[in-house]
Amino acid sequence: MASIFKMNVLNNIESIRKEFPILNTTVNGNKLIYLDNAATSQTPNCVIDSISNYYKNLNSNIHRGVHTLSQLATEKYEDTRKKFKTHFNAKSSSEIIFTAGTTHSINLVSSGFNEFLSKEDEIIVSQLEHHSNIVPWQMLCEKTGAKMKVIPMNNNGELDLIAFSNLLSNKTKIVFVNHVSNALGTVNNIKEIIDKSHSVGAAVLIDGAQAVPHFRVDVTELDVDFYVCSAHKFCGPTGVGILYGKKEWLDKLPAYQGGGEMIDEVTFEKTTYSDLPNKFEAGTPNIAGVIASGIALDYINEIGLENIKEYEDYLLQYATDKLLEIDGLKIFGESINKTSVISFNIKDIHPYDIGSVIDNLGIAVRTGHHCAQPIMDFFKIPGTIRVSFCFYNTTDEIDTLVNALKKASTMLS
């Protein structure tokens, strides 16, 4: 892997694929074709090795430890924080909080907003969200009485930003929108959303779970207040999330969980909290996972996010063209600004039936509502078949997919 440096993906696809052992396994007697990357991406050897190495060489509880192992583990853990600080161009490492995942990150913020909201206030969500960016805020509204407004979308699966402007007012306290829709792939114009929100004094949380794996994100340039993502979607391990928060906000936000690490002094009468980032990292974190997430970040940076984007755009275009040749296939989400996600149905065949048939041919796709029921409600469908590409996928795999879909369609019509 050491030799991969900002490599052009297309010319190096074979050596890239070799880094992902799972791509060489078979499913139901067929070579696995993994097209469920928006649910979770696969894991390269360097990330797997990082976890093994951690447990073989430096496993130890971090912070406060005086012995060498604990020191080394702490250093690696804190170095990882610096990597993410640099990657996202945050102002300080203490603006990077490690959590258990995007969902955890969002709940940390939404739960803190409990203190900032009253029943006169409003918060704004979009119709394009993953349940993880809806439900925590609904729970918040239930507790505080605040009202939730919804940015509508058009038939292409794009948010209506004029409607958004009309929803904004000085009652708006926070706006939470995903950078990229997991169900449709739409890339939202979050810069405009952030700027407009700030003009009425509202904070903005951006759910970047589907963005971080595909292109570079600069939180300072975006001037975003909170930005969240999950490591398992960018070739990292499960159980790790990243929360970027502006220092001003993280200072204001109350601590989420209580425990070790996040406190300075504890007596039964009074407890004082630690400074950032420890205030939000109660208990023993997923140390091995966090360190491995940093290795995953290094890995995608070594290939180069520009190269990844270029190649994935190419796959997206190729797949879209081929899929549209299938009789009766309809794509949902037709924004010109999309990541490599295609949601579709064929005729009125149930997506679940298609998914089952092509699974038997070794092809992994996701079917259903993709944790985004409001989108399905909008299109008045029970669900879709979703294929989502990573930089290790190939046009050959897309050809096989298309043939399998044709077969399934014939069988099931």
Partner: protein, 139 residues
């Protein structure tokens, strides 16, 4: 025919097919013959949970025997339901309650069903037995 015999018959029918694809196609074919539930019975309480697809199941008792009606929006699911209905329809409540089900494994479909679907299947069987228990207490 007894429940056991019907199951054996199903296993025999599927034995003809070598590939899962042929089995799937036969299943889909069978799905088309399912005694379709009346639209008026497609109500919330007749929906079976645990499937990505929806399944409705309704039962009636005639002359001491239970008759099942079903539908699903997914055609493979409907095929599976059709096998269940064929096995359990026109049987006495007690026989349904006491029946053990093995044809799913024997026709080699288990490994081609997702756990979602297997989960859905378990829920269907539960619902069928639930009807049988309910009817065993009525006349």
């Amino acid at each position: 025919m007894k429940i056991k015999d019907i199951q054996d018959q199903i296993v025999e029918e599927f034995d003809i097919f070598d590939s899962w694809m042929d089995k799937y196609e036969y299943l889909i074919e069978l799905g088309k013959s399912v005694p379709v539930i009346d639209d008026s019975n497609k109500i919330e309480e007749n929906i079976i949970k645990g499937c990505q697809s929806k399944v409705w199941l309704h039962a009636e008792k005639n002359n001491g025997l239970i008759e099942f009606y079903a539908d699903s929006d997914a055609i493979i699911t409907k095929g599976i339901v059709s096998l269940l209905i064929r096995t359990f329809s026109n049987q006495k409540p007690e026989d349904i309650i006491n029946a053990s089900l093995d044809f799913i494994d024997k026709i080699g479909l288990r490994q081609h069903l997702s756990p979602n679907r297997a989960n859905g299947l378990n829920n269907m069987i539960k619902k069928i037995k639930f009807y049988a228990i309910a009817f065993s207490k009525t006349n």
